[in-house]
Symmetry: none
Subunit: 226 residues, 2 copies
């Protein structure tokens, strides 16, 4: 994690908090308290991503954004907008003006961090850790590939997400409900038994003969990666 992140935000306390945490994760951070200064600082700093407040004392976030998009050097700079409003209308306006993602204040740092990584993953994959590795199993989030013991394995979309989920917390046992909540799109109703079937399919795919079983069944509790 060696990317550079620029913050334009007028509340110094937010900058401080975010900067501290991002630096802890290995990002290099610079910031500015208003739009005009921000635009200048940006050009010097050449960040990989910009966190941009919606409401600024001089220019609005959208103005800053439009300004940036005009500049050939920053046409593709990923921008995450910070906004206190939750209105749908604003979100649409923001996306039209070329914002990559949104986050509504107050936000937890975990959420911010997740969004930053998701955006960077698309724009600048090298900056972010994209491989999930567990023993001889490797999952590449960028190329959407899975390897066991160097050999590539074909997985369907659901099995891929399922494995990705297990890999974010290997060894931990998850109940069927937890799996359902996280791996399946929201508000989708599927039988919890359906998971058994997907577990089976995943097992069939990732298990190699002479290699140990990777998915543990914990009766009455769920499954885990081991």
């Amino acid at each position: 994690m060696k990317g550079k992140i620029f913050i334009i935000e007028d509340e110094a306390s937010i900058i401080q908090l975010v900067q501290l945490n991002l630096e802890k994760e290995g990002f290099i951070v610079a910031s500015s308290l208003n739009g005009n200064e921000g635009l200048k600082g940006l050009k010097k700093f050449e960040p990989n991503l910009l966190l941009l407040d919606w409401m600024l004392p001089d220019l609005s976030g959208i103005d800053v954004c439009k300004n940036i998009r005009k500049d050939n050097n920053f046409k593709n700079l990923p921008i995450i907008m910070l906004t206190a409003k939750g209105e749908e209308e604003d979100k649409i306006k923001g996306l039209e003006s070329g914002v990559d993602d949104y986050i509504t204040k107050p936000f937890s740092f975990n959420e911010l961090s997740a969004r930053i990584k998701a955006v960077l993953r698309r724009s600048d994959p090298n900056i972010v850790a994209n491989d999930l590795i567990f023993e001889d199993l490797k999952l590449d989030r960028i190329e959407k590939r899975v390897f066991r013991d160097e050999k590539e394995i074909q997985l369907g979309p659901t099995e891929f997400r399922l494995l990705e989920f297990f890999l974010t917390n290997p060894k931990r046992v998850y109940s069927r409900d937890q799996i359902l909540e996280t791996v399946w799109p929201n508000n989708v109703n599927v039988e919890s038994r359906t998971i058994d079937v997907h577990i089976r399919r995943l097992r069939q795919s990732i298990n190699i003969k002479d290699k140990k079983e990777l998915i543990r069944t914990v009766r009455s509790s769920g499954y885990s990666l081991v």
Copy 2:
């Protein structure tokens, strides 16, 4: 134990009592005496869990709950509802509105504490202590594993719960009825002698040769871990 807990409850005495005890356990606690203020306070405080009274002077607990679930930042905030009513109907309503657990007033602090930890264990496992250790015995609640003297031991679900129960209060003697109440799912009727059989199974599993017996029989009283 470093999590943050927010309480919305109109009886100041309850808040005081709960807050005192939770802080003793290392939680950071904030509170509010009514629903509207609570919703605001909540957003500033960013708790890991909310204790929510069912009856509030302004909004009902359910309203507060629904309100919270609408907010993207708090959609997944674990909520434990405090209620004086015991009616089944209410429980169902509450669960539909997205509550994670229930507790009926009056409650003992021990019960509350246990439920809080159980809920946190699911949502935010890092906050809660997850390993139960007694001498050379270790039970890992996250991975659902048990070790004696570093060596793993296979246990069935009931034996696991039974051991987990003993480990939360080693040395203390429990009657068969107490064990039944806590270890078995509610409203299940099993012979109290059945426990003897499970004790035997547990003993067989966790006893290693040359190592001392871990479960003590207290004639006419029950069993304990020693």
